[in-house]
Amino acid sequence: MADATPSLHSVPALASMFRFQWEEAQQCHVLLYPEGMIKLNQSAGEILKLCDGERDVAAIVAALEAKFQASGLGGDVLEFLEVAHGNRWIRY
């Protein structure tokens, strides 16, 4: 298995079997995969929205900090990405 620990230079993208979208009926972002669905909380949704296979983690953190006028989000983002990678939602 690939190294599950991302760095600020990692470039995360959604794994091929997953689809990420907003579900109106549930008022949340979800990940759809064969015969299943994961409901995401707001921060997970905001991070995954930026996992486009182009931005690196540093750029994702910067975008989130700008959007929410916050600082020091790097640790939380890396922690979430590690979980997401462990669950095979994303790849680098």
């Binding site: 091929s16 079997m17 979208q21 995969y33």
Partner: protein
Amino acid sequence: MAIAGSATESASARCGPPLWLLAEVTYRCPLHCVFCYNPVDYTRYGEELTTEEWLRVLREARKLGAAQLGFSGGEPLVRDDLEILVAEAHQLGYYTNLITSGVGLTEQRIKAFKDAGLDHIQLSFQDSTQELNDFLTHTRTFDLKARVIKVVRAYGYPTVLNVVLHRLNIDHIEQILAMAEAMGVEYLELANTQFYAWAMVNRDLLLPTREQVERAEAVTNAFRQRVGDKMRVFFVVPDYYAKRPKACMNGWGSVFLTITADGVALPCHEARQLPGLTFPNVREAELSWIWNESPGFNAYRGDAWMKEPCKTCPERSKDFGGCRCQAYLLTGDATNADPACDLSPHHHVIEEAVLRAAEPQPDVRKIVFRNDKNSRALSERRVLEEPKRQ
């Protein structure tokens, strides 16, 4: 008491969206599988929904919040408008799954499905040996399926294989696993036969012994250890050998909605056989009313309908009393506990079937293939039996 209070709440007020929509687009099928879950009297049912009617169903269900969509049948590839339905479903935001035997899945069609946005293909396989595969489906399809897997992979789909296990093939578990490995399968579901419909007709020939099940599970576990991450293998234990029932459909009318070939909306694909309930047809009613308000969908929502031992069982929120259809099939009353549960006063019917399975192999020539002729014969028998059930 809070729990008792919840039982008296209006069931429909609490129901969430039908997240899973199963579109059984046709009952027609080139195969004649002896464990098919289609109704045995499928030849009695009316005309298939048209393309336009299916498109309306897809739109209405998506509006209700359906997100997963399975195209099934029968063999869904029999419908030549499947590409149109897939394209619209994709457009609407469904995650689209094609559940197929692979018969009719040419490269041309896979390409068209890919272009239409099909997300996922699940291929069913009956056994690893050509002789048994062809016998169980009553056709010669094995080579075709092996070819289909290659094309499915060439178009970037993960290879997902479903093999239905039963008494006649479960001892071939090593060969089944080896075949899946050789074909580079990524997800393998080993689903023990569930005894409804055609499988129920053939139950004494298909129910494996406890020893067979335990051996197959042990072989599967050793295989998992060896292949690791390369292939994910799911082994679904038959509920006849479990102490507790399955949480069928995650609860009646909770997340699952089936639309049959002729447009009947059901809370599960077996519910049509239950007496005393009528299920609306999408030709006559809107899906939001069907899902939220219709008496059929509310019949076993929540837990107000339960009898003992389910009514006061601490596990009722976990397994919802099991399967209503199995309760009806084996006890004659859908509000009984699923007899697969060893707390059920009817559990002996399961134990008796299991005991019979331990007896010498019955005559395999008595097996009933799913085909129109047998369906008509079984329909007549059902019509004769019906007055007794009322």
